[in-house]
């Protein structure tokens, strides 16, 4: 199939990303991650592999953490999406973002957005995770810099912070 033919198959989609509604026409084969990065300019979602192992592209799709390299943009039609750029509320960092800074959970920063999005999903479903649960939840996100030690600490820190906020 030629590119021209594929282009003629282009599909209209509507989706909401970080609270903003977007309409676009995409080739059916466009991966969601490239749609977010190249069509919407949301480059905080990264690409680190081509086999869905590294998790650098993790986002939330309808409230669930997914690897956006494994979702077609057309599959996200009608979806609500949150990327790393949409996690902070104005100037107030999400507790996980604070935690990654407090506990030195980021070095080169490339895996960090995906790591934070996976951790945010964990904390949304399990506000009091054990260390073992944190490690298991992050098994789909690879980091080569930190040895995960301070990432785990950052998630624990954020869980405590969120707990304190709920009690306020």
């Amino acid at each position: 199939m030629s590119t021209a033919e594929q282009a003629s198959w282009a599909v209209p989609i509507t989706l909401t990303v970080n609270g903003i509604k977007h309409q676009a026409i995409v080739e059916p084969r466009t991966l969601l991650v490239y749609f977010l990065r190249e069509s919407l300019g949301l480059t905080g979602t990264h690409v680190g592999c081509d086999t869905s192992q590294c998790g650098a592209c993790t986002i939330h799709l309808n409230g669930r953490a997914v690897k956006s390299c494994t979702v077609l943009a057309v599959q996200a039609n009608g979806a609500e999406i949150t990327t790393i750029e949409g996690l902070a509320r104005g100037n107030a960092l999400h507790p996980l973002q604070e935690g990654f800074r407090e506990k030195h959970g980021a070095q080169c920063g490339y895996c960090t957005p995906g790591m934070i999005m996976s951790a945010a999903y964990l904390l949304s479903t399990n506000p009091n995770p054990t260390e073992e649960e944190i490690r298991r939840a992050l098994d789909g996100n690879l980091c080569r810099c930190t040895g995960y030690v301070n990432i785990i600490e950052a998630v624990k820190w954020a869980a405590e912070r969120l707990k304190a906020k709920r009690q306020d």
Binding site: H46, V47, H104, C108, Y110, C111, C143, R144, G147
Partner: protein, 774 residues
């Protein structure tokens, strides 16, 4: 927050990173985030064969695809376009490294054709539409087999597979071995590893209207790559600007100029449009420098009491098929630290560096250090076992002693300082060593396989070449710092700001660190080899002193006092004993740029090209406790204690982070990771589906400790730390695994210690002992 703004006490404090607010919000800018108007995309067709002649290439189908701008093959490029390689070792053979294959391919992954197109997807489509007919040739993948008579030639242009042979020696080795009571002989092979920075390699090359060239590159070494690019494509260096934006990890693998970069730059100039190329992970697996793959055949000569007399090592190093600028480096490093932390006066170390039909090797975190430490630490443990001497005693007996520094080793290298006994003692204390011994011995009585291992090691850092640093007081008294140490995750913007702010007695928010742009930063080298604190930090320490001295003279002039009566105070200077007579940095800057100060050149900026003339030798002791499931072979690392000494610590949080990361990579090597090729050279582990990088649940609890032995030859007293974790931990694990298997009479197994490998070794040993439960 207050600690981050206190002008004093910054050096040595765990200051949170300046870099992080950008990175945790997804606002970093990595190469693939650079989007330019009119930008084209490049993709490659790569050889699936490790060694083959190219019979024909048909690009017509690719060229017919709408959106394709250019399809090029090796024949379309001038034969002067080569990756420029300087001979790192005298006399080394340097076979051609063309940007695209010319007539033959020598490793799976060699680029055969490149497509430039209007989109990434079209470029990939068209690359796959290029048709190539190959005539496969015999391939060789194992370096030791490549040396056997009749082995296929990896590079048919050469008459052998040897790139170079190098030796380091000292003392009288023959006599040492003749006088020895015992000689330990071992063959130890280190696995081939993939650096696996989570950001794949990539480039954006943009021709500028006035004829210049701007490059955004995921690199550890922007200035060096710029010169190599100039030499490779015949374009003037001074008209190239290399920008290393945020770089997503490197671990050594992002040091050199790779052929894709030279080709992107060349084609961008030829086509007059910006070109982006970012490797897919699969491409990264077969194109980016890999690490280790050194095989050591070693002999250690000892007296009966454990005194080490002599060391012979023959290293066969696998270089891969094509040399990169730094491929020859790691075996050199291996040689230079072969005797480790021991007094072995008589040494003979030989490296045979070998071409094979595999991906290039090069520096990967450790870069020869882990191989060397593994070699000597396994030998020492084996010697202890053979001679019936305690492994602590044999180490203590042979340690270089604190009073012997600076100490020239048996391979002619001078170590600056150290206290290995103290490091060992601290590691034993933290690991509760005696209790661990009892734990192991009790487990053994139950037939369980539990072992303790340790490694006592040195970590050379910095040293090679120079590094640059500039400290500039701007007109308003704010401080701009330029460093040649271009960061890719090490936190330079934080640590260097701590250093300069404290020295200038300012809060950190007055100091901005700039790096990674060749038009902003004077010549520099980069970040690798545990060098930034030593080299970049050293340059800045000297530059800031010079700025302070000039500022003192300006301040003296302003207050009409003698310079020796003007002292530093928070935020500026004051006359000694008259604190109210204060001159701020802002006032000094205004004078430096605004009015004439008699006898003082205008401006307030100092640049230092720092060369300490020697390496900084950090050291440490790592202790591992390993349990192996006798039925399944599954190893569990129950305890890992890491005591490191990197001299004066600038930011403990960042030092610990470096140790964590190094250890994770070391444990990957010890338990999981290995790049594998089939007998014919086919790639077996070419993606993350098959190459096992440690995950969050693989990491054991770590116990970190430290000793501090300041570097007497450095203005800050620092030594490097970046590679300690991957130097010390794998040999400690190896010794622990072999200790666990000792009751089965197993002498040595090479890493990685996967469950199937250990299971087979246990079954074989049990069968041999006639105790197989089956």
């Amino acid at each position: 927050m207050t600690t981050e703004h206190a002008p004093a006490g910054l050096i040595g404090a765990s200051i949170r990173r300046v870099e992080d607010p950008v990175l945790v919000t997804g606002r970093g800018c990595y190469v693939d985030d650079v989007q330019l108007p009119g930008m084209l995309h490049m993709a490659f067709l790569r050889s699936p064969y490790p060694h083959a002649k190219i019979k024909s290439i048909d690009t017509s189908a690719a060229k017919a695809i709408p959106g394709v701008v250019s399809v090029v093959t090796g024949n379309d490029l001038s034969d002067r376009l080569m990756v420029a390689i300087a001979p790192m070792v005298p006399g080394m053979k340097i076979p051609p490294h063309p940007l695209l294959a010319r007539g033959a391919v020598h490793a799976a992954g060699t680029p055969v054709a490149a497509v430039v197109a209007e989109s990434r997807a079209v470029a990939l489509d068209a690359a796959n539409a290029v048709e190539v007919e190959y005539d496969p040739l015999p391939a060789v993948v194992n370096a030791e087999k490549a040396l056997e008579p009749g082995a296929p030639l990896a590079r048919e242009e050469l008459d052998s597979n040897i790139c170079y042979i190098a030796t380091k020696k000292g003392g009288d080795v023959d006599r040492a071995f003749a006088e020895a009571d015992h000689v330990v002989r071992m063959h130890i092979a280190s696995p081939r590893l993939v650096a696996m920075a989570i950001e794949p390699r990539g480039i954006v090359a943009k021709p500028e209207p006035a004829g210049d060239l701007t490059i955004w590159l995921s690199t550890q070494s922007p200035h060096r790559v710029r010169a190599d690019l100039a030499n490779s494509i015949g374009f003037p260096e001074h008209r190239i600007r290399v920008i290393a934006p945020d770089v997503g990890g490197g671990f050594g693998s992002k040091g050199p100029l790779y052929q894709e970069y030279a080709l992107a730059a060349h084609l961008a100039l030829r086509l007059g449009r910006p070109i982006k190329w970012v490797a897919t992970r699969s491409e990264d697996f077969v194109t980016t420098n890999q690490g280790r793959d050194q095989a050591m055949t070693s002999e250690l000569a000892l007296k009966r009491d454990g005194t080490m007399l002599g060391l012979k090592v023959r290293v066969v190093a696998n270089l891969g098929a094509y040399l990169q600028s730094n491929t020859a480096g790691p075996p050199q490093r291996m040689m230079a630290m072969a005797p480790g932390c021991y007094q072995i006066r008589n040494c003979h170390v030989e490296v045979v560096a070998v071409f094979t039909n595999t991906v290039s090797t090069g520096p990967y975190r450790g870069a020869g250090r882990p191989e060397s430490v593994l070699n000597i630490e396994r030998l020492v443990d084996k010697a202890a076992r053979d001679l019936g001497i305690d492994r602590l005693e044999i180490r203590r007996k042979n340690f270089i002693r604190p009073e012997q520094f600076p100490y020239r080793t048996g391979v002619g290298v001078e170590y600056d300082s150290g206290d290995y006994e103290k490091s060992l003692a601290e590691a034993l204390r933290l690991s509760d060593y005696e209790k661990m011994l009892r734990y192991r011995d009790e487990a053994r009585t139950r037939g369980e396989l539990v072992g303790i291992g340790l490694s006592t090691f040195v970590e050379p850092s910095g040293g090679a070449g120079f590094e640059s640093g500039t400290v500039r007081v701007e007109r308003t008294g704010e401080i701009t710092v330029l460093t040649g140490s271009s960061s890719h995750g090490q936190g330079h913007e934080t640590v260097f700001a701590q250093l300069v702010a404290e020295k200038m007695r300012l809060s950190m928010d007055h100091v901005a660190i700039r790096h990674g742009d060749t038009i902003a930063v004077q010549q520099g080298v980069g970040t690798f080899g545990s060098r930034s604190a030593v080299m970049g930090g050293g340059a800045l320490a000297l530059a800031v002193e010079r700025v302070i001295e000039k500022a003192r003279r300006i301040a003296a002039n302003l207050v009409e006092a003698a310079p020796e009566d003007v002292v530093q105070t928070d935020g500026g200077f004051a006359v000694a004993g008259v604190p109210e007579k204060k001159i701020t940095w802002r006032q000094i800057a205004a004078a430096a740029y605004g009015r004439r100060v008699p006898g003082i050149e205008p401006g307030l900026q100092e640049t230092v090209f720092f060369d300490p003339g020697r390496e900084a030798w950090g050291f440490g002791t790592h202790v591992a406790l390993v349990r192996i499931d006798r039925e399944t072979g599954t190893p569990t690392l129950e305890k890992l204690v890491l005591v490191d000494d990197c001299g004066v610590i600038l930011n403990p949080m960042i030092v610990e982070g470096q140790v964590h990361g190094g250890v994770a990579q070391g444990l990957g090597e010890a338990f999981r990771e290995q790049m594998l090729y089939g007998e014919q050279g086919e790639v077996l582990t070419g993606s993350l589906m098959s190459y096992a990088v440690p995950r969050a649940s693989d990491m054991p609890p770590l116990i970190l400790g430290e000793t501090v032995t300041p570097n007497p030859f450095h203005p800050l007293g620092v030594k490097g730390i970046g590679e300690a974790g991957c130097n010390g931990a794998p040999p400690a694990v190896a010794n622990a695994v072999m200790d666990a298997l000792a009751p089965l009479g197993i002498d040595h197994i090479d890493m990685p210690y996967t469950a199937p490998k250990l299971w087979k070794a246990i079954r074989d040993a049990e069968a041999k002992q006639g105790k197989s439960k089956n």
